[in-house]
Symmetry: C2
Subunit: 405 residues, 2 copies
Amino acid sequence: MEYYVLDNEKVRDYIENTPELKAILGDETLCVEEVGDGNLNYVYIIKSSKNKLILKQAVPFLRIAGEGWPLSRERMNYEIRAMHYYGETVPSAIPQVYHANEAMSLMVMYFLDEHLIMRKGLINGVIYPKFAEHITDFMATTLFKSSSLYLSGEAKRRLMDRFNTNVELCKITEDFVFTFPFMPHHSNAINPMMEAEHQQLQEDTEFKTQMLKLKYLFMTQSDALLHGDLHTGSIMLNAKETYIIDPEFAFFGPFGFDIGALIANLLQSYVSHFERSKNKEYQKWLLDTIEEIFEKFEIKFISHWDHTDESGLLVDGYGNKKVITAFQKQFMQMIFRQSVGFAGAKMARRLFGIAGVEDIEGIEDMEARTRVKKHSLAIAKRFVKEYERIENVKELISIIKEENR
Amino acid sequence: MEYYVLDNEKVRDYIENTPELKAILGDETLCVEEVGDGNLNYVYIIKSSKNKLILKQAVPFLRIAGEGWPLSRERMNYEIRAMHYYGETVPSAIPQVYHANEAMSLMVMYFLDEHLIMRKGLINGVIYPKFAEHITDFMATTLFKSSSLYLSGEAKRRLMDRFNTNVELCKITEDFVFTFPFMPHHSNAINPMMEAEHQQLQEDTEFKTQMLKLKYLFMTQSDALLHGDLHTGSIMLNAKETYIIDPEFAFFGPFGFDIGALIANLLQSYVSHFERSKNKEYQKWLLDTIEEIFEKFEIKFISHWDHTDESGLLVDGYGNKKVITAFQKQFMQMIFRQSVGFAGAKMARRLFGIAGVEDIEGIEDMEARTRVKKHSLAIAKRFVKEYERIENVKELISIIKEENR
């Protein structure tokens, strides 16, 4: 099939000619509405009396900038492949995928109409009691089961091969997370009251050296299949269910990157609420959630490990219980530390780079917003500088609290 | 072209039908001789009055075991691709490649008839005054120029993509270097006088945990394109020239692996000469060479780095001199330490695993051979256990000397 850009009418035709979708929606005139608010893709809601679906199509240019800003639509291939992997390993963590077509750069999914983007929920102070449980199921399972701790060397390299060429989106992260925000760059958007901080950061040799280390890790450490962009805008949820969406940045990278992204976003919400709601209860829930995520992640990851007899790394008969336990302990600390480092990088970049987060940018009062930014920066700096030495979650929480003012 | 296995007559026909080779050898009856002494491939020497060439063809089974032991001939693809990369980056380090054909799993190269396999030279106590210079040119250049310190993120991933599926040969290393030698396994060949040491090693939690760490690094750290099997049997040289051959294990792995393999082999020669030649002068040359390799590698690697304006990792304008220097210092120490760890792994596995080295196995007196093995093991254990703490080459040399008896 040759690629073409859909519109409402063509969506109807496409479904008419795709039996698996027609079977779901039934034989009637469909209601089709384009609702993409994103910068990249077209998103259609398709309704019949029987069902509601989402169709997402990538176009070969940056949507907000138009056809003059080309961006390969190949990114949808990686999103399709990651969703396929998630569907096989933790089906309950994603909206069901009914149809995918790499040639057409499109995917059709269950329409989540009872779930909110998590960032909106956090801004409004909503507590999600099951979130830590759900997200650690997702992260522990998808990371563990795509790693050399679970797969054979061959199976891992074959899976890696399906993501290795996601170069465009990796480069976006390399540039916009690890590099441009910390140098003079035209893409930066720096609040005038943060100019001095930005200047200072550029002269902070320790911070910049550590950031290079984290970037190098991101570029070369092929631990597991990452979501690659696991912020609170890539999560849709309600009190009972949590769904992960938009894994177009998926690639094989360091274990700590997804966890770090998530922690950074929870902390951005935490600092924002010193000005937004001033709700200490809510902030406590956020910190407790961070603690719970690290603890549950470790328990679940180790549990997967203990239930795996053989893998590329661990051949049955090589190590006795003592060897495995000693190795696991060091391994989990390594993941924890990297997560903290990446959380710091993610927090810092949001303060200066092209993409702010609504949690902070949405605070209308400039001085309040600046206070939040400085607070966020103080935590980020400590994470980036100290991540290789932080011992455990308790110490992490103390560092966060020490930076409260 | 469909693959077929060559023989002397078919080699003549193949050349007759390959103009680029015919042009080199001339229009006369060729003298063809099969000389492969290896376990894997067929090697033909082809002579005319004008020229002498080597043709190497991989067959889809393990040659020593016959057609009943299948081994994919794809390995030649990786050898061809690695030689191509070497030809582009350090042409002086490899025999010239005149022709390569992935479909036929064959490659035609310059015939090195004035050069000896390095292992033989070391056994005979030959000093190679230019070796450290040449091998560091090769390692510093090929490793640096395939890394994120030189290539763009995209160029690196594209190059990586050509080696990522070299799964069979990576698995050989994973199994036979990092795993089987350190557990009870039918592939091991353990000298009865080393049984106790083998038993002890299996109960050495620290050693086995560290070995897992090294194996994990090997499996997941995609620093640069490695030769993958850089022992002294993969080097042909004389007093003036040094050539690298047989990169069929090539893949993207940790910087320290090639360096470690080389250092291990030089040290195996060093310990063997306590019994072989008892030539202190020669042993001094070996230790001096190890020191020189680490020192020259670092100087050359940094020099490449300092001459690189921009790369995937380092964007022009990100770091000032202070940042780059601080990062380089940590980075080079990381490479050094990993090299020491891998050297230890490589030394240890040769003592118990399927493949011994002639330097040691060729010592006829069993007790003398055992002394050498115990000595080699003592050094290997210290390297594996201490590699993350060793500060510099001086300390490394002290450790080696402390284990002399």
